[in-house]
Symmetry: C5
Subunit: 387 residues, 5 copies
């Protein structure tokens, strides 16, 4: 079962590569890509007492929405409608390079300060699909943090942010009162925490794979180890840059982040560090796993060779003896020609010799510890050591 799971992740992850403007394109040029989902704008407006959720159609509506509320979150899913995105960028005074980064969704996590807003790029990881056929989905989320609004762009519909929306709806915690920067924290933190279950899933797959490698290493296992390595490389490339990005939010950008909320970003930074710790541990475990594979194969080959050696070593000499007495030298032609054949105890003697040889070899192999289970041999060795 775990195999299928890994297989799927792998296929999904391969896609991540492309979607990048052609080299030499003027900066700020926005291209539509084939595989992008349709663009949908949702506005979440709130203050301490009230809350509204609205589907918005145009950049103007969005801008008006942010003006109407004390604090607003404009969430854009899907990057297909380049015109709409461009007008949104214009309405919210987004720098053209930042807008380009929103569209070319292969950015590293980073924070850039512009005059009108703070541009935060992060990457979100989650599993999509049903259980046991889940795909790993790594998606770029771009946030613009303004004075009283957040503009967020996601590649596809569906995300890990529903708990944040729930908290907004029910006014749980400080989220409805603490300003747009706190909302940015809540989003970032939820995205970061979303890596934990992913990494734990990988941890469990690693556990499974370890058992398989010990018990029954096949080329499939090898493929899975290799695919896993690739997955973890992708996750690592997604996680590492977040450290630097979030770290900046804990002490810089006074204009956009309130002093009171720094502690929350610090907490989020702690979580990123923990993520990196876990990801590195898993990479080490994985690299141990491929050593393990080779060792395991070598051991099994050793076992195979032992069986062959024991059988061949015992029976080839015996075969020689039977061959010897199968020769057709004519006893009649000379007394030197195989007189054993007609001696009274020739056959029993030959049998005795053969049993003796077989016994000697068996004893030799037993001494070498090749004959029985290794654990027995080990305990015997141990015993001898102690005598």
């Amino acid at each position: 079962m775990p195999y299928q799971r890994i297989r799927k992740m792998y296929k999904a992850a391969k896609r991540d590569y492309h979607r990048r403007a052609r080299p030499g394109t003027a900066p700020g040029t926005l291209h539509s890509f084939d595989d992008t989902s349709p663009t949908r704008i949702t506005g979440f407006g709130y203050d301490a007492d009230s809350y509204a959720e609205e589907e918005l159609k145009t950049a103007e509506e969005a801008l008006a929405f942010t003006k109407k509320w004390k604090c607003a979150w404009i969430n854009i899913d899907g990057l297909a409608d380049i015109e709409l995105l461009r007008s949104l960028g214009a309405a919210f005074s987004v720098h053209m390079l930042a807008m380009e980064d929103v569209i070319n969704v292969h950015q590293r996590a980073k924070v850039e300060e512009y005059k009108e807003n703070l541009f935060i790029v992060t990457r979100m990881a989650r599993f999509t699909g049903k259980k046991h056929e889940r795909n790993l989905d790594i998606e770029q989320v771009s946030l613009f943090l303004g004075q009283n609004y957040i503009l967020s762009f996601q590649e596809r519909e569906g995300d890990v942010l529903d708990p944040v929306r729930e908290r907004l709806r029910h006014g749980k915690g400080r989220i409805r009162t603490a300003g747009a920067d706190y909302l940015a924290y809540a989003i970032l933190d939820t995205i970061v925490d979303g890596y934990f279950p992913v990494l734990e899933e990988y941890g469990e797959v690693l556990d499974d794979m370890e058992e398989v490698v010990f018990a029954n290493p096949t080329p499939d296992t090898l493929t899975q180890i290799h695919d896993m390595r690739r997955e973890l490389l992708l996750l690592r490339r997604a996680i590492w840059p977040q450290r630097e990005a979030v770290s900046g939010l804990t002490y810089e950008y006074q204009e956009f982040v309130q002093e009171d909320n720094r502690a929350f970003f610090r907490d989020c930074h702690d979580h990123v560090i923990q993520l990196i710790d876990i990801a590195e541990s898993q990479r080490e475990r994985l690299s141990g796993l491929s050593d393990l594979y080779i060792s395991s194969i070598s051991y099994k080959m050793n076992e195979v060779m032992k069986v062959l050696t024991i059988i061949a070593t015992i029976f080839i000499p015996l075969g020689f003896i039977t061959g010897l007495y199968g020769m057709n030298f004519d006893p009649g032609a000379s007394p030197w020609n195989m007189p054993e054949l007609s001696s009274r105890y020739g056959y029993p003697a030959a049998l005795t010799v053969m049993v003796t040889i077989a016994g000697a070899f068996l004893w030799y192999f037993y001494r070498k510890g090749w004959l029985f289970e290794n654990s027995l041999a080990a305990s015997r060795d141990h015993h001898e050591d102690n005598q």
Copy 2:
């Protein structure tokens, strides 16, 4: 014997993963987890002359206790009673993010300064259970260092801090007079020093494993090497962050740490560096061990193949000769058909040829050094070199 020991550690360590709030939970939300032990509060109050130890029931009692004594240590074992913990947090002005870190016991060691107190997170390692069935137990210990008190939270009952309590009880050393920061040092230092016996135990297991790998490498050994790698990764993740945390205590946080006591934290920092040294050495030894395993298996396979080769190489050609004279060509039909069979010395000649062939191979193998113990062959080679 050592195998069982490692096995057990491994099983215990696996548990460490979980116990983390769901992604998207509001910060400061305190959850109870299933596997937490019941909460128990113990107060240790002391000044230069007097000392008391008291079981406390509520946060108010605890606060009153710290007010009554010149210096007090409130030790909380078990994190099951979330309500009690929350009221403790409130009574001692603990920041909600810090309180969350206390409950989500998967933090890296760190020090954070808050207005009312200094929040120190560390991880304690010890063996639980009886000898030869010991489990490695890594547990988070969270300390809040206030002006005259220490609030400490532990995951489970039982710790390595009894010597500190003994020193408090008997007023040994400066512990009763040097303030709460000195007590924090005493606790931290004891936790840090508690890693030494653990690492020494691993050192001894490594010694055992080296001997096993040389003498009798089995897949079990491989499993143990792999488990050990995992253990050491866990220990490393517990130890490394302590360096930075303790380092901060040697020069920062003037409000909570007295200048006089800096030297003690410096000493503690030295110990952490030594721990890291030892842990890194053991990691290197372990990584050498898995090379060793492969080399050892390869060598043993070589030996197996040599036996097979010697036996098969000698007897297969001999078998051919016996087969040759076992053919049923009719000597009567033609003088060309196997006249040897009826020659007077046919059989002795065939035997002589066979002995000669066997001797030639034996001599060849002897020359190659495949025949006897390698040490003999080595000394022979050596001898030849010197001639």
Copy 3:
């Protein structure tokens, strides 16, 4: 098909080594090398409204051209005509060490500030030749950024900069109005972005190679892995230093880079970091690949040995039995001599014994999981575990 591709790249890359002045040559000495292409100067002059493209013959013409236009790009292809290069250097006040670096085309990417201009060295990567016979071509591009001009030197004709020229011609974007430093950015950025398709191509070759390694590892695969490693080393040596070089352009050299254009260089810096990320991932994947190769070969050898062992282990003992009853002991000479031969059920009994032995071995091998496809054996093991 992919093999040929890699092969070709490799051959091309090998050339990169030489072309370096003899040790001890006076600094600033300009040597012509055999393999350099003829020198051709092209001038691109532009301002917001007009644009011209002109072939220039001499250094004086080039200098005059830059004076005539608000902004000019003097592009020199080919480094064969040392005299012409020297006069260009003199005309544009190029430092002799910088000029030497232009000629000795093995420089690391770097930026050096001189009084008259900013000297930027970078390396451009592209594929030349037709599809499936493409060669990787890494070429040094040296730029001198003056107040209103750019002087660029390339090793050979042909580059990745045509999109920049297109943008100049059609006045797309800010390129015609933003000054020489923006042009420098446009050139640098296009060169940097030109690495992405190259690395993606390598990514695809890596995908192919992974499949080959699993399915059918041959020494050719090994050669390709090794060649690939070498390629990636070359690319890495070309990419890494660009990070530091471009980073400098984001905050230094006030005299040559306008504040307004910094953001563009920052964007370019981001791209270099992404390149490094991808290149490092590919290196890791490649290093995993050679482990994979060994594992794959080991596994295949294991399979080969299993076949040999199964066949030999079954038939060698059977062969012994047939040999036994092929012995010519004379039943007439003694009742002890092979009475089986003339017993009524001798032959059937012997056959039965042989079938039993073969069956026993088959059962043994089946239990060991050596007999059928591993996946079957695995599922069986799995089944047993669950019972």
Copy 4:
């Protein structure tokens, strides 16, 4: 011979681990350990003109001795007499944590400044025992550098410092005039330089081991590689921290180190860097060595398999033919039953077939280069390449 040498070192090194206070012990507590040597105090007093060497009994005598001389070196060998050490500590105003570090002899090299003196910890390496049975002995040396004295503590009698004492006795160089800090330098430098012969010895052992690995790799070699790795880890742990410690002495601690003597400490620092260079090179060589071992074993196995394959491949088919004509089909029962047996040239024809088959295989193996020494095959390949 080299084996015994390495073995011994290894046994000695293993001891280094323990001797550490129990976790939770109050800081500054001094414990006696079982294996410590008896304490002996020797005083070396000198000024430019005079010199004396005296055995001292008590801390008071030692203090008086330092007062009597312009400059004095109090050398303490052996740490058994805890009381004496404590009184020495008190007499010379040694900080209790420093005194504890003197006793718990597992410290990293470091320098700590106290009000009364500078505390320098270093580790000394030397070989003890006779030639070819030498043990590596790594020992902590603790120095207290006061205004006019040095207090030095060593674990055991015997050290590498006799040349320093000789220079004191004979007043060679500036040692008698340059103050206590110069003496500290002389001691440190001699200890540092004492690592060079140790590392050179290891270098020679590495040379020997390389030859053994190529010529005759045995499990013993493997053990030695592994032991060596451990040794070098120990040495490295002893050497690395000295870099930082000595580095501090080149620019800090104005109160204790005179400006004039800085250059000497700089020189000593250079030596430590060289040591690290050499130790790292040896580590790299060693890690190459274990690759070498596996390669060497693989190659030898390949050779073994070739012999088996050549012999078995030639003779098994021949054996089949002999078996064929050893079958007892009754030629009398049918003309189809093995008419060859009674044909006139049956036997010679069979022999011819067999020789042909053997020849064909030999030619095939010759072509593959399996038949003769590889060098021959190589030259043949080479020849073909050039044609």
Copy 5:
């Protein structure tokens, strides 16, 4: 051919180890070593217009020579005459520690500022001996840069500096006018550039070795890989420290290095960085090479085993059948005893069975791709994939 070359280098390099003062020797003590070459002093005096080259006998002559010329280079070859060296040191106010470093020729590259002069240590690499028997020679060159002179010490006669002398003689470039610091640059730069041909030579040897490893890996290749590793370690230890040393010269030591000449040292620094790049690439290639060796050996063993398996698997069962009908059960004694032997088509039937079995195995091996060249099998697999 390349083998001999590497062998030789290796032997030469081994010598580099020793020549170091005994530990505990007073600093500044100058010892003569056995293998040093006789000391010869040559003076090169020059100003813009004139130039002279003179053999000097004593320190006084040397000092007078430097006074006579505007700029002078005193070059000392060979370190045998300790007295002469000491008097030179005294005449030119060389610090005793610097003089000791000149004699103990195992220093890392470094720059140290003294009051009278700047002490520069570097290491020069070149090949000595005839083509194909070249030895690598790494030699320490120590420079003292004073206001108008350079004092240079070399271990042996012969160096890479002849082009510098030529430039001095013919007054080429700025060398005769730019002061002693420019001469120091010229010397340093020539030494640094002298590493390029050495590394290129190694690059070519690596190319050769790669081909040998693919085609015909022998233990010799292994030895060469290992020796090469050692060589590159030596070169690396020589090159790396030069980076830091030369770097210092680009911004420090105002008293000795003129601002105008900084650019030249920067250029030299660039070259050192390039050297390091190349050396690191070669190290990576080399480490890939030893993986390659193991893979290559594994592959060849696989091939050997395939041949054995194919032959043995086909003929052992056939041998069993022939053995079966070679049994001597008496058909006369019972109708059950091998009636086949006397059946009319017994022999042809047996032959048919054998041919069928052989064919079945052949088909099985063909399917597995073991039978023909791998490339064929690969194309077949490929074909199947596409169907």
